[in-house]
């Protein structure tokens, strides 16, 4: 596949792993790296990247799965909107199984709500045009990656004067989430693999505070296996050279100042909320987007009566600690027993991009646990075997 297979060549991956191993030896301590984006988490597990890395590297799977961080209360609100008899509720597919406090959108649909899966917010606008006697509500969620397309959809709805269309905005912002994580004393990281899709919109400039205020290196990364390996290699180079910089591995897509047109659309349509509740992480100031008063007619929160209740995470759920790398998924008491992809309790088990779901779905727990025990805390000074490409 053009522009994909090039980033999956095993020989190049092996070379990168060799270089990573050499750099690990120079750092001489276990290295904790957080990949912020759920897409990275998914790739890491799908391709078994953690398994081919030197054992001194521990990957911590951050809060970048947009459906995972949706709090139960907001899901309840979405379901409440969908249950209005005159409403067609449009959503991306992977939000369908995210549990609210009592039910999911999938279950609400089975119980009679008109909930439709779409591939783009513009599809939901088309549904509104096709059903003028219905109110169509789009479940807008995601980081800065998806915010521009929802913003453009509202602008188009306004231009076309479509009155039976609105959005339930749950867009979240990555920078406040990163800041909240960095401010947490439990978090002990050596660096970040930065989100590629978000950065395509916001650029790399907004990450400068991570290197300047928190002295952590960050490398914005693509999603292919070689992208991720190269980003880890770049991070290690910074650590070896005692540098803390924002670097851009994904420069074939990501510009330093981002996408101006997309940012303008976001700023025109959305305003930052004072606070937004994140599943697993709690309230984070200035971390969510609401619709500007100018576009109030497209704001489902104003158009419909919604419960707007805050629902606490389950007490047994350790997602917050897992997201910070303090605990591994299997160290949570409900992981893989009460909490599974079929019956998720916590944020990390909700989507396949969540850490727990990825461990459960892809991970050979016995191998991972063995590896985790082996890697701590000893770092060998002797030449390492051939780069982690074991045959078994």
């Amino acid at each position: 596949m053009k522009y994909v297979d090039e980033f999956r060549e095993p020989e190049k991956a092996e070379t990168l792993c060799c270089e990573i191993t050499k750099l690990c030896n120079q750092v001489e301590k276990p290295i904790k790296i957080m990949e912020v984006c759920g897409g990275h988490t998914h790739s890491i597990f799908k391709y078994g990247i953690e398994e081919i890395l030197p054992q001194a590297i521990e990957l911590i799977h951050g809060p970048g799965c947009p459906v995972c961080v949706m709090p139960k209360g907001r899901l309840d609100d979405a379901i409440a909107i969908s249950q209005n008899h005159n409403v067609i509720f449009a959503t991306f597919g992977d939000a369908m199984r995210v549990p609210g406090s009592k039910t999911t959108l999938l279950q609400a649909r089975a119980q009679g709500a008109d909930i439709r899966m779409v591939y783009s917010p513009l599809d939901s606008l088309q549904i509104a045009k096709d059903n003028p006697d219905k109110q169509v509500v789009f479940f807008a969620l995601g980081f800065e990656t998806t915010a521009p397309s929802t913003a453009f959809t509202i602008l188009q709805a306004a231009a076309e004067k479509i009155h039976n269309f609105s959005m339930f905005s749950n867009h979240v912002l990555v920078i406040p989430a990163l800041k909240a994580l960095l401010d947490n004393p439990d978090l002990q990281l050596d660096g970040f693999v930065g989100p590629g899709h978000v950065s395509m919109v916001i650029g790399t400039d907004p990450y400068e505070f991570i290197s300047q205020q928190y002295n952590k290196p960050i490398v914005v990364s693509g999603f292919e296996p070689l992208d991720i390996l190269q980003s880890i290699w770049m991070l290690l180079q910074q650590l070896v050279e005692n540098r803390c910089e924002v670097e851009n591995q994904y420069n074939r897509i990501v510009q330093k100042s981002g996408n101006t047109v997309a940012l303008q659309a976001i700023n025109k349509v959305f305003a930052v909320r004072d606070s937004f509740d994140w599943r697993g992480l709690g309230d984070i100031p200035y971390s969510g987007l609401k619709i500007q008063p100018e576009y109030a007619q497209f704001d489902a929160e104003l158009k419909f009566t919604i419960p707007n209740l805050k629902v606490a995470d389950h007490k047994a759920c350790k997602c917050g600690e897992i997201l910070k790398g303090v605990l591994k998924p299997w160290e949570c008491k409900v992981f893989g027993t009460a909490c599974t992809p079929e019956t998720p309790i916590g944020t990390c088990m909700v989507s396949s991009e969540g850490a727990c779901a990825a461990y459960y779905k892809y991970g050979r727990l016995s191998t991972i646990a063995k590896r985790t025990i082996t890697q701590k805390p000893k770092i060998t000074q002797e030449p390492l075997p051939a780069c982690g490409f074991s045959s078994d």
Binding site: D94, A95, S390
Partner: protein, 367 residues
């Protein structure tokens, strides 16, 4: 007009009327109405015009409430019946490379074939939504006729129901099938043993991708066609070359991953797949990349997974490659003693990950 007072039935006019009454009628309506399911003349016309004329065979033409056939020739072909049923509710009804009619025949033929059975007789029940264009039904029936001919099976009995508009989605088909399993053939997912090889007859995910694209919800244009095809003669080739096949299953809904998980659980063994050996078209990979789907779980309608002792693997592979439905056959994995009940995938990077059972349907991701 003179009508004979002594024997009016011999009057030419009355005879003509009686002829018309008994004439096999064509369906004149352009759309299915509730009358076509009423049990009356409209239904009889529909059955005669569309089903009996297309599926024409001596057993069906008797139009009894059941199909009856002689057991003697069946007993000469084997010692066990294979019996299966499946329902087809695909949307859209017509898609690149196939349609619901062909699917309904091949799906049931393949379910029989993977037991090693020779498929013989099929049933056909249709549920029609009021308002379905009759022409659509004609096309589907013609497609079923062609598929049945290719598979060498007869559609010997059936049923027709019409439901109110909105109570069904256009057209649903159920087919059941009977086949005969030859003596000595014992194919079961419980026979799988460590050391066995896993073989597939070609690219995975084409049908699932073709359906996704055909729904028109994605602004994507590809030339991918469904792989819908009968597999009975490929199975014949395989069993001729190696009667000792341990297990066979067609990888339909749930894809290759689901079949292999079922195998691993049934025989309490582990399965290791080799990512680089699994044939997937570039376009299928592309759609999976865009939507965040995994080709291992995409549906197929002409793919067969064969599990055979390693010593017979090359023999089976050669036999498969000689058949058009198996020309791209390849070994994609092996059966291992542990971890039991688990399917592992060796990635192109040499790492290993689990290929789990799917939770619900695959859902496209948001970014």
């Amino acid at each position: 007009m003179n009508i004979s007072p002594t024997n009016p039935i011999q009057n030419p006019l009355f005879q003509k009327i009686e002829q018309v009454r008994r004439r096999q009628a064509k369906v004149q309506d352009t759309h299915i109405t509730l009358a076509h399911g009423s049990g009356g003349k409209a239904m009889r016309d529909l059955i005669d015009d569309i089903f009996v004329s297309n599926f024409d065979n001596p057993i069906l033409s008797q139009l009894e409430d059941q199909a009856s056939f002689n057991l003697t020739p069946l007993l000469q072909q084997g010692d066990r019946l294979a019996f299966t049923t499946d329902s087809y509710v695909v949307d859209p009804l017509f898609f690149p490379g196939s349609d619901i009619g062909e699917l309904a025949i091949n799906g049931t033929v393949n379910d029989l074939a993977v037991s090693g059975a020779k498929p013989l007789y099929l049933t056909c029940s249709v549920i029609l939504e009021e308002g379905l264009p009759v022409e659509t039904l004609r096309r589907v029936a013609a497609s079923m006729k062609a598929a049945a001919k290719e598979a060498g099976v007869q559609i010997v009995t059936g049923d027709t129901k019409v439901v109110h508009r909105g109570a069904a989605d256009k057209l649903f088909i159920n087919t059941a099938g009977i086949g005969i399993i030859p003596r000595g053939v014992n194919i079961s997912a419980q026979n799988i043993k460590p050391g066995d090889a896993i073989i597939i007859n070609g690219e995975i995910g084409n049908h699932g991708t073709a359906i996704l694209i055909a729904r028109g919800e994605l602004a994507l244009d590809t030339n991918i066609e469904s792989d819908c095809q009968p597999l009975h003669s490929l199975v014949e080739n395989i069993l001729h070359a190696c009667p000792q096949v341990h297990a066979m299953r067609d990888a339909t809904r749930g894809g290759l991953a689901t079949v292999l998980n079922e195998f691993a659980l049934s025989s309490n063994v582990g399965i290791r797949l080799y990512e680089e050996s699994i044939p997937v078209r570039e376009e299928v990979n592309g759609v999976c990349e865009i939507l965040g789907l995994d080709s291992l779980y995409l549906a197929n309608e002409g793919k067969l997974v064969v599990v055979v002792a390693a010593k017979y693997a090359k023999t089976v592979l050669s036999a498969m490659k000689l058949h058009p439905a198996g020309k791209d056959a390849c070994i994609i994995g092996e059966v291992i003693p542990s971890p039991t009940g688990i399917v592992l995938l060796k990635t192109v990077f040499g790492a290993e990950r689990i290929v789990d059972m799917l939770v619900g349907d695959q859902l496209p991701r948001i970014c």
